[in-house]
């Protein structure tokens, strides 16, 4: 079948103007949108720029706006994006576009870093491992699945208009440690998220939950952090 991709192109080295380019490629319905992009890049226009690495939904590098919704191009099948119409493909919103579909992810990673996304402990290290019951492990299982693709953060209307907000992903990253029984940095993280730009900016729009290609219940995680803040100490 023939699929038309309508791709948002931007190359500041050539022009500050944004243009939309259409390419029609012949694909199988069960091909991925990423395959279609490859076909364009490899066979039609080598200057098309986008990120991808694993092509199997693991690395999180190819989040983009496909038909207005944030998805991983490598996890979206052509037949699922209404291929009878031109399929629009844009970079994710809210982060500075560098070229075509590539955005500057630094602000996004900065927010993640400020959550102390590592195990914080005090005292002596145990000789072997830090034990944890299955139950305690299950408590934060959902948020361990995050692949930092930024689909959630860049689907959030608060993040679009106010880049100061940490964004859903950072809260998911913090949640993973806040509810980890082995971790002792909970207070610090909660304090960071109690900030003006923290969890209270969330309006429970649910865009993030809908966007997450890993099926993480992002809004729920944010609500759990709110609850932890209200009922702490």
């Amino acid at each position: 079948m023939d699929v038309t991709l309508k791709i948002r192109r931007y190359n500041p080295e050539v022009s500050e103007d944004v243009r939309w380019e259409e390419h029609t490629v012949s694909m199988q319905p069960t091909d991925k949108v990423l395959d279609a992009l490859h076909k364009v890049k490899w066979e039609i226009d080598g200057s098309l720029t986008f990120r991808r690495s694993c092509a199997h939904g693991v690395c999180g590098s190819d989040a983009m706006r496909i038909n207005g919704r944030n998805r991983l191009a490598c996890k979206t099948l052509v037949k699922d994006v209404n291929p009878d119409q031109p399929v629009s493909i844009e970079p994710i919103k809210g982060l500075p576009v560098l070229k075509d579909l590539v955005v500057d992810m630094e602000p996004f990673f900065d927010a993640y870093r400020s959550m102390l996304p590592f195990l914080v402990t005090t005292g002596n290290e145990p000789t072997r491992e830090r034990l944890q019951s299955q139950q305690d492990r299950d408590r934060f299982d959902d948020t361990t699945k995050c692949i930092l693709c930024a689909a959630c953060t860049t689907s959030c209307p608060v993040y679009w208009t106010d880049g100061q907000y940490f964004g859903p992903q950072a809260i998911v990253g913090a949640h993973r440690f806040i509810f980890d029984s082995r971790d002792e940095g909970t207070d610090q993280r909660l304090e960071i998220l109690n900030d003006k730009e923290g969890v209270w900016r969330c309006r429970t729009t649910f865009n993030c939950t809908e966007a997450c290609p890993r099926g993480i219940e992002v809004t729920k995680a944010i609500q759990e952090v709110k609850r932890a803040l209200i009922f702490r100490r």
């Binding site: 209307p157 608060v158 208009t161 106010d162 304090e191 109690n194 900030d195 003006k196 923290g198 209270w200 900016r201 709110k226 803040l229 209200i230």
Partner: protein, 142 residues
């Protein structure tokens, strides 16, 4: 000779503020209360007895001689105003991008809130249906 100054701790802890948390909680609680207050208000004023036809200056004045309704209306006024102002504050924070815009919009907002609250509170406690000497209302024909 001056003693060498000891530097302040390198990462001074910011004074902890729960303002955003409290305002978030306020929205929830005031929202629930307002549902009761406003629906109750609408029911009493518009449906009970003669309904909307009973409403005139005298009706309002009658209600406000009763401390129960004074408290009810006072609560409704303050909760609704603060609830609305807080909501708008949030929207301004979300959507006003420049600091100066934000500042002026918020100043305007807070000023209007003070105005409404002061005026409303004043009226609830000092309402006089016969302020106009030419009033033809029954209560004023003594």
């Amino acid at each position: 000779m001056a003693t060498p100054q000891v530097l302040a701790p390198r990462t001074p802890r910011k004074a902890r503020s729960n303002f955003e948390q409290n305002s978030w909680l306020f929205m929830r609680f005031s929202g629930v209360l307002l549902v009761v207050l406003v629906l109750g208000h609408l029911f009493i004023n518009l449906m009970r007895g003669e309904g909307i036809h009973a409403i005139d200056f005298a009706f309002v004045a009658g209600k406000w001689t009763n401390p129960f309704w004074q408290t009810w209306d006072l609560m409704m006024l303050w909760l609704a105003e603060l609830h609305g102002v807080n909501g708008l504050r949030t929207i301004i924070n979300d959507y006003a991008e420049r600091d100066t815009t934000r500042f002026w919009l918020k100043s305007l907002l807070y000023l209007s809130a003070v105005f409404v609250l002061v005026l409303g509170t004043l009226v609830i406690f000092t309402f006089d249906p016969c302020l106009d000497p030419a009033s033809t209302l029954d209560v004023c024909q003594k």
